[in-house]
């Protein structure tokens, strides 16, 4: 004998499923446009170009990572990050969330990784532009700065590399902001990106679906706040070790 409450829940769930199924059916039934729609391309390029032109900005992001267990069960991890960027060569990225508490500093000369909870940091000389530094950090140190894909000046080329299909899904609202919803398809991955309408075509959200893994897990980033006129201080990009902090090495890759 089910309680009325759980019955109601079941009915609600059933309704949701039905609606989802209908939506899914509707999308599935539509012939997906082949190739890349010029309008989708144009909207994405407008967004990446706009961001590349911003000499300094900060973005608060919410990042969700799905993990699929061997049983097929999906587990989700969340963290938030704030990226502060000053082109051509300054970055600070702070992350907090499940398992994460770390600050990444780049002042144009060196990069520093600091774990405030462990009071441990490592520092290394780095190339003198953001793009070169990202490459160095990723290939030599296995270090990644969050959402760096969007900070690259040639983000459009990076995002579109290998893309075979793309179209404009329609209008959407992300964090209360009206956006154009774009969908792209590349080998192994699907990419969706939501671009703010109007004079400031900022990326508001992107989702990457790994479709050749069981249960197609997703990685999603939502920008909860863009600030195109941030105030950066002397300590924003350069790290001064707090009392008791210990310097350690980066292990060579």
């Amino acid at each position: 004998m089910q309680s009325p409450c759980s019955t109601r829940l079941t009915v609600t769930l059933a309704r949701c499923c039905a609606i989802a199924a209908m939506a899914g059916f509707a999308l599935g039934a539509q012939a997906q446009p082949a190739g890349i729609a010029p309008e989708a391309q144009r909207l994405l390029k407008a967004s990446t170009d706009f961001l590349a032109k911003q000499q300094q900005f900060s973005a608060d992001t919410r990042i969700t990572l799905e993990v699929v267990l061997k049983s097929g069960q999906k587990i989700e991890f969340n963290h938030t990050a704030r990226q502060s960027v000053q082109r051509p060569n300054k970055l600070r990225a702070e992350r907090t969330g499940d398992l994460v508490s770390q600050v990444f500093y780049y002042d144009g000369k060196s990069l520093t990784l600091f774990n405030p909870q462990d009071k441990v940091y490592a520092r290394l000389a780095a190339p003198d532009t953001l793009e070169a530094m990202f490459e160095f950090a990723r290939t030599k140190l296995d270090i990644v700065a969050p959402a760096s894909d969007l900070i690259y000046k040639n983000a459009y080329e990076i995002l579109m590399d290998g893309v075979t299909d793309g179209f404009v899904v329609g209008k959407a609202v992300i964090e209360g902001v009206r956006c154009d919803h774009l969908a792209f398809r590349a080998p192994h991955v699907d990419l969706q990106i939501w671009v703010q309408e109007g004079a400031q075509p900022l990326p508001r959200r992107f989702v990457i679906t790994t479709r050749d893994l069981d249960n197609a897990p997703q990685f999603a980033v939502t920008v909860t706040k863009w600030n195109l006129k941030p105030t950066f201080g002397a300590q924003t990009f350069s790290f001064t070790p707090p009392a008791g902090a210990k310097k350690v090495d980066f292990l060579p890759r």
Binding site: I63, L65, E66, V67, V68, L69, K70, S71, K74, I75, F77, H79, D98, L99, V100, Q102, L113, N115, D118, V120, A122, R138, L141, D142, I143, V144, A145, P146, A147, S148, D149, Y152, I158, L159, M160, D161, G162, V163, A186, P187, H188, V189, I208, T210, L213, D214, N215, A216, P217, Q218, F219, V221, K246, V248, D249, F250, L251, R253
Partner: protein, 156 residues
């Protein structure tokens, strides 16, 4: 090579979060242990990266460090052998003595030097050795270091 860069960028973004999954302390909540023990597949973009994969990489690295040491020892032994048989014999003897001494200094069952672990065993205390602060865990010394975004400990 189209698509490779895109994938790399995405994998990179994902790996960032992934590496922290490997950074789970042994007394972590159940959910995190679950992830660690399960051969979880990280849903981040593009490549089936797994927590198990991170562990394997660590193992490979430790193994590589060990074999490098072995090669070095072999090279040294060959050089010595080339110099003179007697000297080589002496060197071998010395090496054997050194190994014995080293073995005596390290507790039985200690992980091989160069092993990288994500969390310290229990009962460690900081100790300065050669001007560096290490963690002394029952006679086995660990040095903290960053491996990617991940804080790890290297067996000394």
């Amino acid at each position: 090579m189209t698509g490779t860069r895109t994938l790399k960028a995405f994998v990179a973004a994902a790996a960032l979060s992934l590496l922290h999954l490997a950074d789970v302390a042994t007394d972590a909540p159940l959910g995190l242990k679950l992830i660690r023990e399960a051969h979880a597949i990280v849903g981040a973009p593009a490549t089936p990266v797994s927590v198990a994969g991170v562990a394997r990489r660590t193992t490979v690295r430790a193994a590589a460090a060990t074999s490098a040491t072995a090669q070095q020892q072999a090279a040294t032994a060959q050089q010595q052998a080339a110099t003179a048989q007697q000297q080589a014999a002496t060197a071998q003897q010395q090496a054997a003595t050194a190994q014995q001494q080293a073995a005596a200094a390290r507790p039985a069952g200690a992980p091989p030097v160069g092993t990288v672990v994500n969390a310290l065993p229990s009962g460690c205390r900081p100790e300065i050795k050669g001007g560096v602060e290490l963690q002394n865990c029952g006679g086995v010394y660990y040095r903290p270091a960053f491996q990617g975004n991940n804080l790890v400990y290297v067996v000394q």
